[in-house]
Structures are given as C-alpha cells and as structure tokens.
Amino acid sequence: RYAFPPGGGSEALLGGGACWRRGWGSAHCRAMFRFTQKKCGLSEFGGRFTLLFNAWRKHTQPTAAVLPSRSLIPVRKANFRGLSLPDNPSLRGLYSRTPKADVQVMAGEELPGVLILDVGGTHGVLENLVALLKKHFHVITLKEFRENKEEMRKKIQSVFVFENRPTIDRELLESLPNLKVIGNSGVGVDHLDLKMISNFGVKVTNTPHAVADSTADIGMALMLASARRLVEGCQIAVSPDTKYFAVNWLGVEVTKATLGIIGMGNIGYKVAQRAKAFDMRILYHNRNRRRKEEEEAVGAHYCEKMEDLLQQSDFVMLVVNLTPETHKLIGKKELGLMKPTATLINISRGAIVDQDALVEALQNKVIRAAALDVTYPEPLPRDHPFLKLNNIIITPHIGTATVQAIRMMTEEAIANILAVLNGKPIPSEVFPK
C-alpha cells in the first residue's frame, strides 16, 4: 500500500522501531520496515540512522560507501531522529518518488514561491529555517510581496505559516491566484479559517509528527515543576532575603499519583508513555476509545465520562485540539469537580479553559495549582489576574521550542507543501469539519 512512506523522506531512514516511537500506526511501520528492508538489502537494523543512511546511499549510488563498522558510527548529538535531508545533495528529491526529476527542476527551472512573514525579527521565521526553505522554494517575504505585488502574486504557490504568521485572511487569499497550499508549522490550526481557505481551493497541512515528543516533554516538565514547586524554589534559592532553607516547605508527589489525560491523540499518548515510568495511575478521556493493546501498553484506563476523570485525578492534563466542541471545555463546573489537591496542566490551547473560572478556582483554592503553556491571548495583558497568583506557572507557549523540534516542523511542513505542489499523497492534510 505504501510504496513510499508518507511524511517525506527523512522517515525512510528510520527503522521500524523509530517509527513506532513516533507514534505512527503499526501498518505504517510495517510498510516502512518492508520498504527499507527491500531497498537497502538489510535483514536487520536497529534504528541507527547512519547505517540506514549509508544503505540508502548504496541504493541510490551503487558505488557509494559500504556499511561502516560499528566503531565508525559517529555519535550524533542527541540521537536526532531524521537526517537533515535538505543539506545532503544525494538525498535531494527524497520527497518525491523520482529523485532525478526533482533535481532537474532545481537545476534549470524556477523554484516554486513560498510566502513567509519575515526573515528573523520578533515574529519572523528563524534564519536557519529560511535556509532550509530556500533549498526548495523561492522565499518571498510579506514585505517583498507588498512592494512588488504584480510580479510576486503569481509566483506564490504556498505559504509557510510560522507561529501563526502571516495571518491568512480573505484579502491575502484573493491576491494569490496560484496559491495551492498553506503549510502550517505546528499541529494546531485553530488560527486558520479552514472553510474559507478551502473555498479558495487551497489545501492546508500541519505537522503532527514533529511536535509530539517535545510537547509531551513540556507537559511532563510543567507537571513536575508545578507539583514540586520548582519555580518558587528557584526564587527562594536566589532571593537576597534568604538566610537559610526552611525544612517545612513541601510540594506534592508525582510518582504513584493519578494523571488524567484529556485528549489521547499522538501527544496525549506520548505523555502517557512518560507518565507510566513514574508509576502513575493513568486515566484518559477521548472522543474515541483507544485499542486494548494501546491502553495496556501504558496502563491507561478509559473514562467515558470526563467527570469521572476529573473527580479521580491528582493531575489533569489537557491535550486536545481547539475546536468548537472543545472551546471552554474546562469551565467552572469541571474545575469544581476536580480534587482540591489537584493540578490543571494545559498544553493545548488557552481557549479550552474558561480563564475567568480558572482565576476564581485558583484564588479560592478550589484546585491546588495550574501550569499553563498556553493562554488566551498570548501573551496575557500585564494586568491579568493570572500574573498575580502564586499557585500558577505560565510559560510562553514553548511546547515545541527546541532546536530539534522547530527544525523538524519546518522539514515536515516542507514535505507537505512539496507533496501538494507535486501532486503526490499529502502526509498531513487538514480538512474543514
């Protein structure tokens, strides 16, 4: 069924194990395994990308190097999953089935245009990511577009939306006649009017795979930091007034506590995998129940009614998409159902929580504490009551703010955009409801 794995070329270099770790379905992994086995002539591989890379090179360039012995495998920093494909000339064109064809396109014809907000600056695309884009596209900033509309408008076939910018409104869509795809960096698309965009015949793609690990990590980081009062502790440790450390200053335990995950998608499941190692009791609430094997693998119990989860959890973690159904999913009633010793952690979208109700609940100690990577708006106005509470941690939406994730998101977005422009199967298309 999969002659070439969707999601771009980097995944071709990953072993089955690595695919599974990324949370892909088993059919996907098996297909990948079989594909790589066949193409690379390997009977067994342990996910070491260098082995696979060299095998792939052997396949594309018959005179290329032989598989290195173990001692020559470089220790790559941070086990970075996925090679930086666009940097490697022998892997160019990996995003399509016919490498040679793409190389020809790059050599002679003009690259397709991609619109971005800006290069660098407070809200622009990071410079090293622009360099990645430039290998496949003619990068046009919004400023350049506005200064030279007549020349640029026809060239722009795609938009790379980075940190919700540029804003996609009707005016922009009307001024880009050849626009085919909006490639969003990140998995949330609540900032995009999917229906309106669809009416213009433009596709929308997101990057669900690149964000999963780092977002699950930040969920765990927030839960631990809140439970153990890490931020407060730091303040005590460096405060000029501190003369000695009090011994009666306590937090709450994470190990063996009950974690309720609301939204058990890619990210939610990875949170469960991590929480399991802390011996946590895991409850989850989801639109659909997961398969038995998946539940058993992380020891998760399904709560068909969200109320059951809220009443039993010591930590409630929100990992849902923002949709009309999940808007203000957690309001006064839900907060009232939670234990007074419970902590709310939000790594999805600010609008999923009724913020006024949360302020009240925290002030009146209806719940113990909250840890939010996301708020509405971002950033909060400086006089917002959240900023005055001492039982809340807020972080500036850093769920995917790692060097590795941000690069992977760009690569995934590039793969999606190219798939649309080349008429190939699109790895992560998002459809309006």
Binding site: I218, M220, F245, E253, I394, T395, A401
Partner: protein
C-alpha cells in the same frame, strides 16, 4: 512517684505507652517553625516516644542526661558532637532523616557504641522525580520562560526561549544506586540513551530493564552525554569528583544536574566553566554551603537553576521518613536489628 517525677522534671505530665510503661526519652531539636519536627507528625511520634526538645534538655540536664536513649535528628539537628555524646551516657540510637550521612561523624558515634540509621528508600522516588524535573526545566528553559511570561515586557516569541530536546538525548548517570536507577527508569520512557558510571556494574537484567550502558571510565560517560546527572553519596572518594578536568571533558552543549551533595562538585571550577561556556548549563538542588552566600556568582547566571535542597520535599515522603526513623529507634532501643542501619 508521680509527684516526685513532676517535681524533678518540671513537666506537667508523664507519658505512658499502651501497656502503661513509660515511653522512651528521645531528644529532638525543636518543634514547628522552619527547622523543627513537623507539628502534624507529633501525634504519631508521641505515641512512641517522650519527645524532649533541646531547650527542655538544657533546662533539666541532670535528670534527662541519664534518660535520653535516642536522638531523632531532623534535618541535621540537633548537632551531635563529642560534648553531647559524653553527656548522654545511655544514648543508643541516632536516627537521621534523609539518606545522606556526610554530616555525621560515624567513627565518633561508633566509638561511643551508638548506632545510626538513615532513610534511604523513603527519599528515593521523590529524589529521582526531582532529578527529572530539574533536567526538563533546565533543558526547556522553563524558569526563564516563566519569567518572560510574567514580566512587564511582552515583546517576546517562543524562539527567544529555544531549548534543547530531552526526548532522545543521552543521559549519563554518575552513581547508579537506588536513586540513580529510578532516574534511569524514568528517563527510558523519554527514549533517552542511558549511560552510567558506578563503583560496580549492575547485573545484566537490571541494565537491560532500563537500557543502561555501563561506562567503566567516567570519561567515556562525560564525553558522550547531553545530560550528566550526579546521584552518588558524598564520601572521601566522591569529594570533588567533578572538577575542572571532568567538566572540560563534557560536551559544550551538555548540562550538569546535581541531586547528591554540593561537595561532589568543585564549585569554583563549575563557575568558571559556566562563565566560559565550556558546558551549557547546570541545575543544582545542592550546593556548598546551603544556602550560598548572596553574592555568589552561581546565583546570577541565566544558565543555572538552583533549588533549595528540596528533592525529597513532599508531605508523603517526609511522613514516611518520620515513620522509618521511629521504627529504627524502637528497634534499636529493644536491642533488635535496626532497619536502615548505617554501618561504618
């Protein structure tokens, strides 16, 4: 007899145990406040012991010296020195809270025939959890992010707080005891590659359960790790285990996490390497001294997280510690084998 006792002690009552016998006298530093025995632990303790605070002891030394049979040492207090040992002829057991015993002169205590206990298992899970918390907070720049999110200035973007991934990175655990092993169990779920250095190699099943690879030479661990976590006990052998040489062996992108004791690290060398960006960051629950002097350079560095020695600071764990200490004292006073005894 009761009247006599009252006059002698100046106490308003004599505690009696379940069978009506007098409860053993146990010396503590104080009750409540920032350093004392927790008030919500008193009910349990008073069922087993007659607690004598340092203040009460000093007011009534003559009678109490003979009768105090154990010391309940809560966070290093009361301090036990030769003077105190000489004046407590019937002292049998000292129960110390926490797992570290570097603050006790074991030789001295042994020479007075006093047995010592600690609480190694009670603290292990919380300390491992806290090690993970520090690693995640440091790598994802959580504290910096919080400061940005609440500061008066709102012109920032997530890119200003770009951190490094924990998932899939390499963790080097120096000291794979109970705590170190629990850290490995947790790190495995983050798909981390786990290296460890220990006096002795763990057995194969233990290693493969967490996917840990033994590094006989600490240098190998230091050179390959993205995170170096110290979970050794402080002994003469581990004093300044991590010095300038070891820090320079680490990757420039590496982070040092210390949940053992401040003295395991050469603190001055650490300051220097952090200033010169020889390593990327540090996250320290322990320093030397605690707290650091307010003008210490570590307090001002952006790439350093310091917490006030709180790795075991949860209600449940502290209660468990107290119960363990009670058990150890009771066993010691009855002449039975002492749980969690610390041997020389």
């Amino acid at each position: 007899m009761l009247k006599n006792t009252k006059e002698k002690k100046g106490l308003s009552y004599v505690q009696k145990g379940m069978e009506g016998q007098e409860l053993p006298y146990v010396l503590i530093d104080s009750i409540g406040g920032k350093h004392g025995v927790y008030e919500d632990h008193l009910e349990f303790l008073k069922k087993h012991f007659q607690l004598i605070t340092m203040k009460e002891y000093l007011e009534n030394k003559k009678f109490l010296s003979e009768n105090i049979k154990a010391v309940y040492m809560w966070y290093h207090k009361p301090v036990i020195n030769e003077g105190l040992l000489q004046s407590l002829p019937n002292l049998k057991v000292v129960a110390s809270s926490g797992v570290g015993i570097d603050h006790l002169d074991l030789k001295l205590l042994s020479s007075y025939g006093v047995k010592v206990s600690n609480t190694p298992f009670a603290v292990s899970t919380d300390t491992a959890d806290f090690g993970m918390a520090l690693m995640l907070a440091s790598s994802r720049r959580l504290v910096e992010g919080y400061q940005m999110a609440v500061s008066p200035n709102t012109e920032y973007s997530p890119a200003d707080c770009l951190g490094a991934e924990v998932s899939g990175a390499t963790l080097g655990i120096v000291g794979m005891g109970t705590i170190g092993y629990k850290v490995a169990e947790r790190a495995k779920a983050f798909e981390m590659k786990i290296l460890y250095h220990n006096r002795n190699q763990r057995n194969k099943e233990e290693e493969s359960a967490v996917g840990a690879i033994y590094c006989k030479k600490i240098d190998d661990l230091l050179q390959q790790s993205d995170f170096v976590l110290l979970s050794v006990s402080l002994t003469p052998q581990t004093h300044k285990l991590i010095g300038k040489r070891e820090l320079e062996l680490m990757k420039p992108t590496a982070t040092l996490i210390n949940i053992s004791r401040g003295l395991v690290v050469d603190q001055d060398a650490l300051v220097e390497v952090l200033q010169n960006k020889v390593i990327k960051a540090a996250a320290l629950d322990v320093t030397h001294p605690e707290p650091l002097p307010r003008d210490h350079p570590l307090l001002n560095m952006k790439n350093v997280i310091i917490t006030p020695h709180m790795a075991s600071a949860t209600k449940k764990t502290r209660r468990l510690m107290m119960e363990n200490m009670t058990e150890s004292i009771e066993a010691g006073l009855r002449g039975l084998p002492i749980p969690n005894e610390v041997l020389l």
